[in-house]
Symmetry: none
Subunit: 214 residues, 4 copies
């Protein structure tokens, strides 16, 4: 009988595109539950069952909203780092002068980590631990995007003579490492007080980069 196979229209279940209000709420709720789970039991014990239990929902509902566990984890990592990126961008974009931009960047970065420590901790642990089906770790995906802003600040500063000349990659990496100290601390102790770090990190960076902080 008439059966001309139609070439598979988009799936009827929630994927991409227009999302219901309730769907968005559920997705947010599940990402939150995933953050909590990773923080409490660690990435590799954060099973769907554990996450679903914290969200008070059935395991299969997680798969209903995200196509797979990996889908949920990628959303977690994506949204958390996107938020961090937006924070620093908002702080930096209104400023012109390189040293001031670097200060704004660093302060916004550490402040954001301080304010969103649970989410950041979880996202970093996932990014470090998770591997895609082909074995690629997440931190290898979109590597440049994340550091592009910092790199551009440092480049401008060196070109204008405001910062000591150091190979751009080295400088970017070292500044990033210093800022990531905040992450390391909240990962080790979610209740840690970042006050002292926040007080000293900008002077430390300024000295390291030879900024004349008169």
């Amino acid at each position: 009988m008439r059966s001309e196979p139609t070439p598979a229209p988009p799936p009827a279940e929630p994927r991409e595109g227009a999302r219901t209000f309730i769907e968005l709420a559920r997705r947010r709720q599940l990402v939150d539950a995933a953050v909590a789970t990773v923080n409490e039991v660690g990435y590799h014990r954060a099973s769907l069952a554990e996450i679903a239990r914290r969200a008070q929902i059935a395991k299969s509902a997680v798969v209903y909203y995200f196509a797979s566990k990996e889908g949920l984890l990628l959303e977690l990592v994506g949204t958390v780092f996107a938020a961090l990126g937006e924070s620093v961008l908002a702080a930096v974009e209104v400023i012109e002068e390189p040293a001031a931009r670097l200060r704004a960047y660093a302060e916004a970065y550490v402040a954001h980590v301080d304010a969103h420590r649970h989410a950041i901790s979880a996202a970093v642990e996932v990014a470090v631990s998770h591997r895609t089906a082909e074995g690629t770790p997440l931190y290898l995906i979109n590597d440049d995007d994340d550091t592009a802003l910092l790199r551009s600040i440092l480049r401008a500063g060196m070109e204008q003579g405001a910062f000591t000349e150091i190979p751009l990659d080295v400088a970017t990496g070292l500044v990033e490492s210093v800022l990531d100290r905040a992450i390391t601390l909240v990962q080790r102790d979610p209740g840690v007080d970042l006050g002292e770090l926040r007080a000293h990190v900008v002077p430390y960076l300024f000295r390291a980069l030879g900024v004349d902080d008169g």
Copy 2:
């Protein structure tokens, strides 16, 4: 009524204490295989089967020598970080002056990471990803020991006025973060050239700590 002279206890099971030569060789072989496995497939796919296959040994032999998978992983992390500690200690202990000691420490640290990148990468991934039965991550175990030497160098430098005054914890953490940039790099790309980093890391640290490097 302890009168019957109890016969000497049976020779220790391959656990602690006196270890035969062959046993030590096997343990080293297994740690090597674990390092290779973690580097190739990542911590959370580094199963006993995968490790045993690389060691060309039976899965059950791993348990025979280490009692559990966790035993092997702890040994891996322990030996790798002990070796790093020994490298820096050897480099530092013949020197007196704080700035020179810091230079020696930093150079030895990065050189060791450079030379043992596979082992370091694996150990760090395990330390970050693994959790004990109680859920404790490995990087929380013996945390202070690892930084004690660096902390003492920095303390001395500040007391003598060679380094800028910064809260000791903050300073230690920031220096550590900078040095760990080497680890981040080899984790992202096992073939990376650390030359530029090694050339600039000490000047960077010296500036950051206000060392007068005349």
Copy 3:
């Protein structure tokens, strides 16, 4: 105490009996989608979701119209084989003489398979693969009905001495097997050309049954 005139019962649920036009259209649409799905991904991956996606309809609508997945599959198999039966019946019923009836039967059968290969392929795969809740395969249901016409032709032919004497069951089965070669071919390759088979199948059957095809 039946005194209150009970109001007319609500219009029948979309089950049996009078069916609205839209309902019939939906059912046909869903059967078509099921045929396409089975052909594309095979019976045991032809899930409700997959079928509904091809019909551009919600999964739950399938259940709404057919009560269960099995209902849809039974309808698919039923309608497809009914159509085949009608084709051969129409071809045969205007003819009297056994050999001519057999020729008409065979030609109509293979022609129908040729013309409706997608539907036939799917129906056969479902009939072979599906089991009811009690474990009965579908090809065991209504077995005799399908072969009754062929059997009657052969019986008449043998009684009249037009066909070689063979036990009726054996003869019917062997003729059926030969005709089903057409189905096997379209199942293996939906694009196959049945021309050669159609040219040779009747002579082959006539020889096998000893028909004097002068």
Copy 4:
């Protein structure tokens, strides 16, 4: 530490190559259990759990001996059809003349199906129902191999004028279809008596192929 990753030696668990006696026994036992399961509940309800239950073994043991459920099924199909192939080959290879070879082929084929009806039924159902990960049905794999012998017999017979001239593909397919009637019968009723079929199938084929069976 020393970690030159060795390029993954063969797995330590039972795969290919040298097989223990006990391993061979287990594999045979599991194939038998799979045959029984498929016959009793049908292909697509023949789960690992069901198979393991019949073999009185743990589910995971099935995966221990075959790498996956598919591995077991492929072995089932492979061994069953190999045995059928060997039966007919042994019957045919001592004979020269085409008509006699065809008779031997047909009789051996049906006799083997008769004698191994359970295994054949299960293998056919699996071959029809199973799809590989890419969606290919099993009956599309190695299609030619199975019919090569029959085809060569028919070709020789036609070249020598012993059989009616029919396109080789058509002839081979039709003979196969006729012989497969035996399979259809045992699939429909595992206890069926094939006596009548066996008595009439060769004369039927001989007539169909125009063999002068004086």
